[in-house]
């Protein structure tokens, strides 16, 4: 089930109403059943993977906690890691692995052939795998007590608003909220409603309407001139932002309706004045996951410069790979790693860009960062390296080409509105920003958003981009 679907718009009120009608001790059962139903709507068979992952993590964490010997603890941790990452590897990375393996074998003149597995990538596998791993790792590091209640643990793994595309929550933040007997609150309802309509607006009106234009230029970049390609790349920057930000916003809004506060996943990332700032504002739950479970264990920044640079590069390359099993994602991640390192030692050391206060320097930084991020998206969006290179080639060479690319003026209007709202929301969340505005302005904004959603949403099938991860 997707958030921008009629079944979800029926499902959500039923879940919310039932949640508050039920006695608190029964609520977890209803939420768990609803979450499984939500997931099975897409592909019932793959619920087995979630159940398996739930059981492995639940019992491994108990075993880790029960044993006092570090060796025994490690054994269970490895079992858990191998199982979780093994499933992820088979479903997500096996294709890339076989391709690389056979390529290397060919170089050495060996005709190696590995079996081809035609497996459908389970929706959200990277999200729930990382969420459950964070829990088990915390138990191993002694930061977290193992959950005694299998039902609540299963609910933590599958809580429907954030199951398939995050935010990747931590156990100590989410589980206590799932156990709290929330009462219906007007504030939660109104904030949840605001976030849901805002999320639907940016997904359905911005992302879904930009998608066909982006698809057009990516399918044949050679046919478009440099100016239009640049506009198309800018469109993709907003498409992916609106798509993922929209999803996260609806997730946060839906959870809020039952009193659960999920973490913010985006904070106006295109207003970042540096790559470092960008990653503090973009997909925050993933960035913090990599910070806590990869970067810090590698030594973080309390190491020599060269080691730090390696750490940064590893973190960003892994983050690229997390997104997908393709060389394009690897390069995309590496670009950010490299830019992060360059930025620190050339920009910040010589004080070229001030990232603190708004001014000429910051605006310049925002523009530079946006251009770098937009160019990096070329690797993210392209299906192969050769496609990405074709795009760069067309960008540089097609200066004189004429083409009939004419975006719909209504779409440009809605995109303009979204950009203005994004500027106004700097360091703020839509619901909180909205609550401080006068009544007439609030309702004007609601009316505009509702009109956009109902009358101008994209009509082509555009699944959430991050579902594939």
């Amino acid at each position: 089930m997707t958030f921008n679907s009629l079944p979800f718009l029926i499902f959500l009120p039923i879940v919310v109403i039932t949640y508050y009608l039920l006695a608190p001790r029964w609520r977890w059962i209803m939420l768990l059943a609803a979450s499984y139903l939500f997931y099975m709507w897409w592909n019932p068979a793959y619920i087995i993977l979630i159940l398996f992952s739930t059981l492995i993590n639940f019992y491994s964490s108990h075993a880790i906690e029960r044993h006092s010997s570090k060796q025994q603890k490690k054994k269970y941790l490895y079992l858990c890691l191998i199982t979780n990452l093994g499933i992820l590897f088979i479903f997500k990375y096996y294709g890339l692995f076989t391709q690389a393996f056979m390529g290397i074998a060919d170089i050495f003149g060996v005709k190696a052939r590995l079996p081809f597995l035609n497996l459908l990538l389970p929706v959200g596998i990277s999200f729930y795998t990382f969420q459950t791993l964070s829990y088990t790792l915390n138990v191993y590091f002694g930061k977290q007590k193992a959950e005694k209640h299998l039902g609540y643990f299963a609910l933590f793994v599958t809580f429907f608003p954030q199951l398939v595309a995050g935010p990747i929550e931590r156990y100590d933040r989410l589980a206590p909220q799932l156990k709290t007997p929330h009462s219906p609150s007007y504030e939660n309802f109104s904030n949840g409603f605001r976030l849901i309509i805002f999320g639907l607006f940016i997904k359905m009106v911005i992302a879904d309407n930009l998608a066909p234009y982006v698809e057009e230029i990516y399918s044949q970049p050679a046919a478009y001139n440099t100016f239009h390609l640049m506009a198309g790349l800018g469109f993709y920057s907003f498409q992916i932002y609106a798509d993922f930000y929209g999803y996260s916003t609806i997730a946060i809004g839906s959870a809020l309706l039952i009193g659960v506060n999920l973490m913010d996943n985006f904070k106006t990332p295109y207003l970042s004045a540096s790559i470092r700032e960008f990653w503090r504002r973009w997909h925050i739950s993933l960035s913090t996951w990599f910070r806590d479970y990869v970067y810090i264990p590698l030594g973080g920044n309390r190491v020599k410069w060269s080691r730090w640079a390696v750490n940064i590069f590893i973190v960003y390359t892994l983050s690229g790979l997390w997104h997908g099993a393709n060389w394009t994602f690897l390069i995309w991640g590496s670009i950010f790693g490299l830019m992060f390192i360059i930025e620190r030692f050339f920009y910040e050391r010589f004080g070229i860009i001030s990232t603190e206060k708004w001014g000429i320097r910051r605006i310049f930084g925002v523009l530079i960062t946006f251009v770098i991020v937009t160019l990096a998206w070329i690797f993210f969006r392209s299906s192969s390296l050769s496609n990405a290179l074709s795009m760069f080639e067309a960008l540089l060479n097609n200066t004189a080409l004429a083409d009939p690319w004419r975006p719909d003026p209504f779409i440009m209007f809605w995109l303009g509105l979204f950009i203005i709202l994004d500027l106004l929301l700097f360091n703020n969340r839509f619901d909180q920003w909205c609550s401080k505005k006068p009544l007439w302005l609030r309702w004007t904004i609601y009316t505009l958003l509702i009109f956009g959603i109902t009358a101008f949403s994209g009509i082509d099938n555009q699944p959430f981009i991050y579902f594939q991860f």
Binding site: P184, F189, T447, T454, A455, F456
Partner: protein, 509 residues
Amino acid sequence: MKPLAAKILPRLFILAIIAFLLNWIYTVEFYPRDLKKIDLLDSLQKVIPQSDVIYFGESSNFSFIYEDYDQRRISDFITDYFPGLQVGTVNKGALHAGIYLRLLQQIPPEAPVKTIIITMNLRSFSADWIYSKLENVLQRDMVLISDGPPLWNRFRLGLKAYDNKTSMQRSLQVKYALKTQALPVDPPCNFPNAAAWIETIKKSPTYPLIDDSVAKALAVSFVVNYGFQIDTMDNPRIHDFDDIVKYAHQRGWQVILNILPENTKLSSALLGPCLKKLMMSNAELLTKRYESQGAIVVNNLELVDSSHFSDKKWPTEHYDEYGRKMVARQIALSMKNLYPNYFSDVFMKSYFTCDYETPSPFFLTLRKDSTCSRSGKFAERLDTNNAFGARFVRHYYEVKTLNPQKITASGWFTGNYQPKDVKLIISIEDDKKQSKLWTASVSKDMENGKWASLQVSATIPENFGPNDVIKVYFWYTGKNSVWIDDVNITLQTENLNTESDTISSLIEN
């Protein structure tokens, strides 16, 4: 709970008022614009005000063959039989009765439509079509014309709230249907269902009966597409056609159902008599069912020979020019009694004219030009880019009933030219593209800048046969532009003087 309800309910009420107002704004300002974006609805809106007859079809209506002289659609060929009658066309690939019904419901009461011709594709009754992944797009196109407030329908479009399934879901539906839809067991046809039949094809070394690289895949495709017995209780297409006939009667329209030709010959060659038997029994069922409901059913199932199907590697209803013309003829003949005053048998037609003003369907590749004209406003310009004028083409099968002995062509031209550069040509071409030519060219004393005419006649050879074709056209090899107008062609049935096969004349205007 009470204070909460007191806060929420007034806001819900305000939201309802906003929704009502937004629906009004959308309906007035944006709905017509959205309708125009859906090509199917847009084309329907365009044909409604001027059509006496509307032809609803899918891809069978089009030409997929580059070599066809006449690339026009079946529906256009029907028009040739009824000069003066307006035949509109609404077609798109993969359309089916469910969609036709929704489109018919869009025709307003004041529309001049009196007859509807509906394509009845046997394959559209199969699970493979019913659960086709193309269905998503068709259903999407229909959302805006569903019942309910337009804004709600537009919202549904954004939510993809229609029959919108993934390819995997659709393929599972097809597989299930192939396994569960029972087939009549009638020796030697002993397959309980299509899935079992397909399994036999895949496993057997001697079945299908043709042994070549594509035969197995082709045989499987045939069974998937036609290996079913129409269940009148459960098949959704039956319900759609029932509704179409009923609806048409309510509106006072004549309904013509056109059962399309299928490649029964190839199916028999591959699979023996079983599949053809099924196809025929399904076609008979449909004919009986809908004739009893008052529709005119044209059963063309075996009308077109295998060689006239354009796709050789999978079964489709895509025909070459001959196939499309034959289907059109059968439909036209079935309409003869409905429009006796308009009917003109194309195969008996002996006089053809092209004045560049009125429609001249028998002249192909016609390009109008308004720079100058002999009659009316238009003529055709010939120059270095366009060396050939509108081409008249007549196949053997189109003239054999008339059985002409002679053809005469004449046409007018003007411009600044060299005499040797302008020619009016009659060509009779056989299946090996060998031509026999009769040419009329300009005499030297002709005055440039004035309208003049050329005329040429030819005796049609006695061995003029099934694969031969008559062509008439102007050919210009000069550099300056010339214009041609008022081309007339006569097929003469009586045996006239054939002493001179080539006549060239110059008539001062």
